[in-house]
């Protein structure tokens, strides 16, 4: 019973990556639109994109690390 609940919790914990994938996909769409509007600002747009992706991906990583820590307890 204990092992089953721990495995189930590890599976639920990875659901945080849904938000990260959705957010980063929508952001990339807006970035493509902004670059197509003004191609000479693409350097600043890319550096803002890198920063935003690193921040948004970290919430997915939090869930992944918790899932790994639960998975190693089985």
């Amino acid at each position: 019973m204990d092992n089953g609940l721990v495995a189930l919790a590890a599976g639920i914990a990875v659901f945080t990556s849904v938000g990260a994938g959705l957010g980063m996909g929508l952001a990339t769409g807006k970035i493509a639109e902004a670059i197509s509007r003004q191609p000479e600002a693409s350097g600043k747009i890319m550096s803002a994109m890198m920063l935003g992706f690193g921040l948004a991906e970290s919430t997915a990583i939090y869930g992944f690390v918790i899932a790994i820590m639960l998975f190693l307890k089985l």
Partner: protein
């Protein structure tokens, strides 16, 4: 190959001085620091007296990197604060990149230990408060916690405490996740041949550089916010 996987680092035995134990990540952090110190001493003693007005190859590489970090820091916090902050950010970038290089060789990087990243984040926290107090004075720094309305003071204090914790956990989680995926890949029999070499470019090199850049950018952004009140 079987699977050695644990979130906590293992302890190494040293037979000198009567046998003491240190953890893997402490060993890797000390080794990276020694490499950086020896490299800096060699460059300072042997190469810098020979710098010319028109630079050649090695001097140009070093000037490019120093200039990149310095102009980025000045564009974020202004030129008064970047006299001290630019060398510190360069050092943080160096130690994170040297540890990332260790990850490619199989030594466990120091950033996979929460103690290391928490130390760096606490240094950032002290820098934020210290620059705020030095520029504005102690009373105005404390009054900045009540800035939009005095009712929001607990929220502001909680935000100030949450910043270093989130910085530490972000770098810890990212680099630990990359390390776990690479270890799992090494233990699969068929994919052991060429796939780790290709995927480690993304997980070990790109993630480390990105996390170093994000750590430095976020630290500079919060210091700028404390200076601009």
């Amino acid at each position: 190959m079987e699977l050695h996987l644990s979130v906590e680092p293992e302890m190494l035995e040293f037979p000198i001085f009567g046998g003491f134990q240190i953890s893997e990540t402490l060993f890797s952090a000390v080794l990276a620091s020694l490499i950086i110190i020896i490299f800096a001493l060699i460059v300072r003693i042997f190469f810098i007296p020979k710098f010319k007005q028109i630079p050649d190859k090695f001097q140009m590489v070093i000037e490019l990197t120093v200039d990149a970090v310095q102009s980025y820091t000045t564009s974020k916090v202004g030129s008064w604060a970047s006299k001290t902050l630019a060398p510190y950010m360069y050092t943080v970038a160096l130690i994170i990149l040297v540890n990332g290089f260790f990850e490619l060789l199989g030594i466990r990087a120091a950033m996979t230990d929460l103690n290391f990243t928490l130390s760096l984040a606490l240094i950032t926290f002290v820098l934020i408060q210290a620059y705020g107090i030095k520029k504005r004075g102690l009373l105005k720094r404390l009054r900045a916690f009540t800035k939009p309305t005095p009712i929001l003071t607990p929220v502001n204090i909680a935000t100030s405490l949450a910043i270093p914790i989130s910085l530490a956990c972000r770098m810890f989680g990212n680099i630990l996740g990359g390390m776990i995926v690479m270890e799992l890949l090494y233990s699969v029999a068929i994919a052991n041949l060429a796939l780790p070499g290709i995927l480690s470019i993304y997980f070990s090199v790109f993630h480390t550089c990105m996390q170093a850049f994000i750590f430095i950018t976020l630290s500079l952004t919060f210091i700028h916010e404390a200076l601009e009140d």
